[in-house]
Symmetry: C2
């Protein structure tokens, strides 16, 4: 390898590393959003939208709290981004989301013509960026996105597994408490 080639390879590796670090930085911000969802007992999914190096919109899942199917992290962020950009087209934005989008969110991304979508972990049961189907890259639509998967994959995935584990533990404890209450009541009645 010539010195020139070595330098070019080193530069390429450096640029890739820088790009990856930037992606991880924004995914970390999406994780922070997801944690806001967990704090209100919602499935922890978070999203940020970046334009020209700036976060212009954020969102986290509030579906149960707000009793609206539209309160997914991505939809909330897309709504705010449109407001900021003053356009229904988000053609120079990148969307970061902790979990692979559902059909509604994937559809909204395509409709808003977002060019690049960065995903934390995949959702094999309902994901529409390659799991059940890939709506983000369908030849039949008039827009296709570049999709980058697995950015902070472990962190984004453990967010969800920890949430559901905590939920199970909580439910089991609640059941135990109810059982104890019923037994105490029965004991009380037998004394009367």
């Amino acid at each position: 390898m010539s010195i020139k080639d070595t330098l070019a390879a080193a530069k390429e590796a450096h640029d890739k590393d820088k790009e990856q670090k930037l992606r991880e930085k924004y995914m970390q911000m999406a994780i922070k959003e997801a944690q806001k969802a967990a704090a209100i007992r919602e499935v922890p999914i978070g999203c940020v939208i970046v334009r020209e190096g700036k976060v212009i919109a954020k969102g986290y899942n509030r579906r149960n709290t707000d009793k609206s199917v539209l309160k997914h992290a991505e939809i909330d962020a897309i709504r705010d981004a449109c407001k900021k950009v003053k356009d229904w087209r988000l053609e120079d934005c990148t969307l970061y989301v902790t979990l692979e989008p559902c059909p509604m969110c994937a559809g909204a991304i395509v409709q808003a013509r977002i060019p690049t979508v960065v995903i934390g972990s995949m959702n094999p049961k309902a994901g529409c960026a390659g799991s059940v189907i890939n709506l983000l890259d369908m030849a039949g639509f008039n827009h296709q996105c570049e999709v980058i998967r697995g950015v902070l994959g472990e962190e984004t995935s453990s967010l969800l597994t920890n949430f559901f584990k905590d939920l199970r533990v909580e439910k089991a404890a609640q059941k135990e408490a109810e059982k104890a209450d019923a037994a105490a009541e029965e004991n009380e009645e037998s004394k009367e």
Copy 2:
């Protein structure tokens, strides 16, 4: 055919006719919504959501006016319906829409678990209820809708063709006017 069979067949035909008339009544209301879009120079698409025989939400396309990708007729109606029902699930609702839904709207319908969708005309280029793809009835998702197509098909279709025809005529007239202005200006300059 026995008298009993004849009566049963007559009843069935009567019920079917009644059901179709009801569908047309609600589709007519969706057309009225679409006309509101046309009145503000938006592509005329309208939607109503019916629950227990009552229209609980309406919507029409305002995407350019409101500069938001989320301002499709169906999304607006679904938002209002969730507010009315106080639930993200719209499990006992029927959605009527003048044009086959896009991927975002079809996804929202699936996410809200709407059981029945009634469509006016199809959208071969971008429709997601059978044209490009059928997101409303995909085995991979955890909800599938019953889809009824072609209700007031001609009326809903001519809404769109008339809108685009008017737009073309308008644009041509504008071009002609600009040409005439330019010619008059040139004439004025040559006199100076």
